[in-house]
């Protein structure tokens, strides 16, 4: 059984974003790049499944649609424990473009389980996983917080309002995972980093696919206004300020 984990290369979550080029992009100088946190948890779960005694998982691959700059992120995935990596050599233009590129690779390689993070922490589109399953015409399960293989059968947990839904599905399928799929992302060990040197990182040319949307402009959120403290003896001021300044009442 082969697992493919889709990896998005995103700025570290503490990065301060500065817009450039008439707000059409952001300054990437000095940005620390990481594996999208949800994808990292998906990879961790895949590794745990493979390490289970008698596990049917034979191979874990990771894939990213991106330029050469994203290779360190794939190398990290290899260091954590993925067996091989694939980079589709193209700018990730939009969600459809990424999903369609990954779909081409999946069709050619026959993965049994495809894992996607529920969203990426940069653009938060939450679209690639769903599009991918549609393009592949395979089942998809969203908001997956548990993935188990028992007697060769796949079971998935989804968190629902007030409880957990348990689903079964046939392979191949796409699971769109959220927090809970693994407790903590696995940190690569030095020996893993060393072994990653020899693991394959295959670069594929992109398929001839057109993006459906175009990013043209970004806006930074408005700065939060300062907090006004009101003395407890003058509680009436709060009503006045809410009325006159905030115009909330």
């Amino acid at each position: 059984m082969k697992i493919l984990v889709c990896i998005s290369n995103v700025p570290d979550t503490t990065t301060k974003i500065k817009l450039v080029n008439n707000n059409s992009g952001y300054d990437k100088t000095g940005v620390q790049w990481i594996i999208n946190p949800w994808d990292e948890l998906a990879l961790t779960r895949a590794l745990l499944l493979k390490e289970e005694q008698g596990s049917p998982i034979t191979e874990i691959s990771v894939i990213n649609v991106g330029t050469k700059d994203t290779e360190p992120t794939l190398r990290k995935a290899l260091a954590v424990g993925a067996d091989d990596a694939i980079r589709v050599d193209a700018e990730a233009k939009d969600a459809y473009y990424v999903a369609a590129q990954i779909a081409e690779v999946v069709k050619n390689n026959g993965y049994d389980i495809v894992l996607c993070g529920i969203e990426s922490s940069d653009y938060n589109g939450s679209a690639v996983g769903g599009m991918l399953s549609e393009l592949l015409d395979v089942p998809s399960v969203s908001s997956v917080s548990g993935l188990f293989i028992e007697d060769g059968k796949v079971k998935l947990n989804r968190e629902i309002d007030g409880g957990t839904q348990v689903l079964a599905t046939e392979t191949p399928f796409v699971a769109i995972v959220q927090k809970g799929i693994a407790l903590d992302p696995r940190i690569p060990a030095m020996r893993g980093i060393m072994m990653a040197r020899k693991k394959p990182l295959v670069v594929l040319p992109p398929a001839d696919i057109e993006a459906l949307t175009e990013y043209i402009d970004y806006e930074m959120p408005q700065a939060k206004s300062a907090c006004k403290m009101i003395d407890e003896d003058n509680a009436g001021d709060m009503i006045r300020l809410l009325h006159e300044e905030a115009k909330a009442i």
């Binding site: 503490t14 946190p37 940190i187 030095m190 020996r191």
Partner: protein
């Protein structure tokens, strides 16, 4: 997914000088520190207790002996990777970095460099995983900067040696399974030997009352007619060159490590100076606060470049002990100054354990003295310039 805020300063884009692998090594160690050290370290420091459970994690991560060949349990890494691991560990705490420094540079390094194949296979893999803890005995109660005058002796008894003497200020001595001890033989030549836990006549009392490296164990090693099997001698080196080469490796790690402590203090101070408001504006908007922050960033940047260049030279086999001395001395000094200045940026809040400055300051008071004092390192540079040794 660590939710600890940290914006590491990199004003000269030193990251661009690192390979992808270096960055993965650095980030992995940083993530581990965020997960396993940051949340607990203030408590252990306050209790003056070594977080011993971290030894296994450090071993699993590969923080012990990263540059040792993989056939002995290492990771075949270069010296910049080693330096980056030290930097990130010391951002957590100098005591945690000391644990990894001692294990790597003062225990694994001499066994790897001067030991027999049997010694390497017996000890190195288990030191790499943390199954065994090591310590290093050179300094004596009356011989610190002058180790050549050591009193500890081994006497050749035919089929074994008899070890007598005492060592002081030994990290991990009370919990160590293996000690690399330096002693003079019957001819007065310094030799390295492996002392193992449980050997009769070997005791290791703990040193209490430290106001520094409180999350690290320090103790003595006392030897009274300890029988040392001949196969426990390190055959590959004679003279002070042995321990001094170990110290060069450890000092190299310190030159990187203390940058982590400085970066941690700087990062906390920058964030505080933007959040704390006085006279209607952030304290970071006042010139005297900016002076402190700007000087700190300048010194961190210089230290980063010094460490990177030294690492490159070390990878090429070209670094000299005098170059290591300069980097250790400079970087510890700036880190200590930055810890003190950044504490001031926080005003009164800086003295609490909500922030790392006081702990780093207290730790760095040890680091500026151990592994060659601040003054002796200056005199090593002086000797390099003039050819005259002023420390004798």
């Amino acid at each position: 997914m660590a939710n600890i805020q940290y914006n590491p300063p990199d004003h000269y884009l030193v990251d661009d000088l690192l390979s992808d692998e270096h960055k993965i090594v650095r980030d992995a160690t940083r993530d581990w520190v965020n997960r396993s050290v940051k949340p607990i370290i203030e408590e252990y420091f306050e209790k003056a207790e070594f977080p011993r459970h971290l030894v296994k994690e450090l071993g699993e991560m590969g923080a012990f002996g990263p540059f040792i060949p993989s056939q002995y349990g290492g990771a075949d890494m270069d010296y910049i990777s080693y330096g980056l691991i030290m930097q990130e560990l010391e951002r957590g705490d100098s005591g945690i970095r000391s644990m990894a420094s001692v294990q790597t540079s003062l225990v694994m390094y001499p066994i790897w460099s001067y030991g027999t194949e049997e010694q390497k296979l017996k000890f190195l893999p288990r030191l790499a995983t943390g199954e065994l803890i090591g310590c290093f005995g050179l300094t004596e109660p009356n011989h610190g900067s002058d180790p050549g005058s050591m009193k500890t002796r081994i006497k050749d008894m035919g089929d074994h040696y008899l070890l007598n003497g005492a060592k002081m200020w030994i990290t991990n001595s009370t919990i160590a399974d293996v000690g690399i001890v330096w002693a003079k033989d019957d001819e007065g030549v310094v030799r390295g030997l492996i002392v193992e836990k449980g050997m009769k006549g070997f005791t290791a009392p703990e040193t209490h009352g430290k106001w520094s490296l409180r999350a690290s164990i320090t103790g003595e090693m006392v030897f009274e007619d300890v029988i040392i099997p001949k196969e426990n001698i390190l055959p590959g080196v004679k003279g002070l060159k042995g321990p001094l080469s170990c110290l060069s490796s450890a000092r190299y790690g310190i030159a990187w490590g203390v940058i982590g402590a400085a970066m941690d203090c700087f990062d906390a101070a920058v964030r505080y100076s933007q959040e704390r408001t006085q006279f209607g504006k952030p304290t970071g908007g006042f010139q005297l606060q900016q002076k402190k922050l700007a000087e700190a960033l300048t010194e961190i940047t210089k230290a980063q470049l010094l460490a990177w260049r030294l690492g490159t030279l070390r990878n090429e086999g070209k670094s000299t002990p005098a170059q290591v001395s300069m980097a250790k001395r400079n970087n510890v000094e700036i880190a200590l100054n930055i810890a003190r200045e950044m504490r001031q940026v926080l005003g009164a809040m800086g003295i609490t354990n909500d922030y790392p400055m006081m702990r780093h300051s207290m730790n760095l008071e040890s680091v500026i003295t151990y592994e060659g004092t601040h003054d002796v390192h200056l005199l090593i540079t002086g000797a390099e310039i003039t050819g005259i040794q002023a420390y004798k």
